[in-house]
């Protein structure tokens, strides 16, 4: 009897450890695809070609994501220096012409939902961020509204990340993510410094 109990215990322990390792893998993003200038994205997001780990990770952190023929998604939680994005810091996001019909940049809290603030500035997109004289567009990530610039609020965002959406990407962008001119994320200051 004790032998059967021991066997059952080992079986249950193995299943539990395996399931826990699977959940840890999905929660901690160990299947993130490749990195492109600090942004991570997978070519098989939403695709029938996705492996089971990618499919499960997308289900947890991006359920109902489109495949790359319709939209490409990139995310990052660091600035261009590699430092973790912080709620109390200001960052300037700059980019050039994006190879897509429409793009947007959105702030997401650690729970994969939008930050719980009332700033009505959860993202900025192509319709707001127009090219400047240098043929670049800029936007600001910060907890307080900047003067006269497109803004995504990081107020109450905690350990946040940002997602770049490229809708109706060009065929070349779909084929070669390395050829996409990824936006830069530069830290300006932290803690309310001028």
């Amino acid at each position: 009897m004790s032998g059967k109990l021991a066997t059952a215990g080992v079986l249950l322990a193995g299943l539990a450890v395996g399931a826990a390792s699977g959940w840890y893998t999905l929660q901690h993003g160990m299947v993130q695809g490749d990195t492109y200038s600090g942004w991570s994205g997978s070519k098989v997001t939403g695709s029938v070609d996705a492996d089971p780990w990618t499919r499960a990770r997308v289900a947890v952190s991006g359920l109902l994501a489109l495949n790359k023929s319709q939209a490409i998604y990139f995310s990052r939680n660091t600035d261009d220096s590699g430092a973790r994005l912080r709620e109390d810091c200001r960052y300037r996001v700059t980019g050039g012409a994006m190879p897509a019909r429409w793009w947007s940049i959105t702030v997401y809290a650690a729970d994969n939902y939008l930050p719980l603030n009332d700033d009505d500035a959860l993202s900025f997109d192509q319709t707001e961020a127009q090219p400047t004289g240098k043929a670049e567009w800029t936007g600001i990530l910060s907890p307080k509204q900047p003067d006269g610039e497109p803004w995504a609020s990081t107020n109450k965002a905690g350990d946040y990340d940002i997602t770049l959406r490229l809708y109706q990407p060009t065929p070349q962008a779909q084929q070669d993510y390395d050829a996409i001119p990824m936006p830069k994320v530069t830290k300006l200051d932290c803690g309310g410094a001028a």
Binding site: A6, T7, V10, L11, L12, A13, G14, L15, A16, V17, G18, A19, A20, S21, G22, W23, T25, L26, G46, S47, V48, A50, P52, W53, R55, A56, V58, A59, V60, S61, G62, L63, L64, A65, L66, N67, S69, Q70, R101, W102, S104, T106, Y108, N112, Y113, L114, P115, L116, N117, D118, L122, S123, D125, T127, E128, T163, R165, Y167, Q168
Partner: protein, 175 residues
């Protein structure tokens, strides 16, 4: 093989099954949760529901875009194919209809760049028959979700596309 080695092998085997089993089950489980939420626990099947403007309080599906207006149809093909259609937005703004199978795969995405006068297709299982001449999408599962996404980055634009999307249809093929 000693008893301890047998138990170790059993532990490792069970751990592999637990790991892979969970990874395989998660997409189906989360889709089921999403389908229940979107259909009002099954009350709205094979019909579109029109979501409000995305805000910080939008908690139905992870990572919603605040720049898009979402409408959803939870489908069930067990009783036959569906005719799905979406009218264009004013000024030819971005509109897409995307179909997700029960395992989360995005099995089709059609947009108004391809179909500027509106998107229209029959959604069916492989072994079901569609009317002749119709665009067809075959689903590998009876159940899943169709999403209508429309560009609406401001309250004004949202109000405009909200009017247009009310013409969307997701209903059994007649006759």
């Amino acid at each position: 093989m000693t008893r301890n080695l047998k138990l170790l092998a059993l532990f490792v085997g069970a751990a592999v099954i637990g790991h892979v089993g969970l990874v395989m089950a998660v997409p189906h489980a989360l889709m089921k949760v999403a389908m229940n939420r979107m259909s009002g626990d099954g009350a709205r099947i094979n019909q579109f529901s029109f979501g409000p403007r995305t805000t910080k309080d939008s908690r139905g599906v992870v990572r919603p875009s605040p720049d898009l207006a979402y409408s959803s149809c939870v489908y069930d093909l067990s009783k036959g194919p569906l005719l799905v259609s979406a009218a264009p937005s004013p000024n030819q703004g971005y509109v897409s209809l995307s179909v997700f199978a029960a395992n989360t795969d995005n099995i089709a995405a059609l947009d108004t760049t391809q179909y500027p006068k509106g998107i229209r297709f029959v959604l069916k299982r492989e072994d079901q028959v569609a009317p002749v001449g119709m665009q067809v999408v075959n689903s590998p599962s009876d159940k899943g979700i169709i999403l209508d996404r429309r560009l609406a980055p401001s309250a004004e634009l949202f109000a405009e596309v909200d009017q247009a999307r009310r013409a969307d249809s997701c209903a059994p093929v007649k006759g």
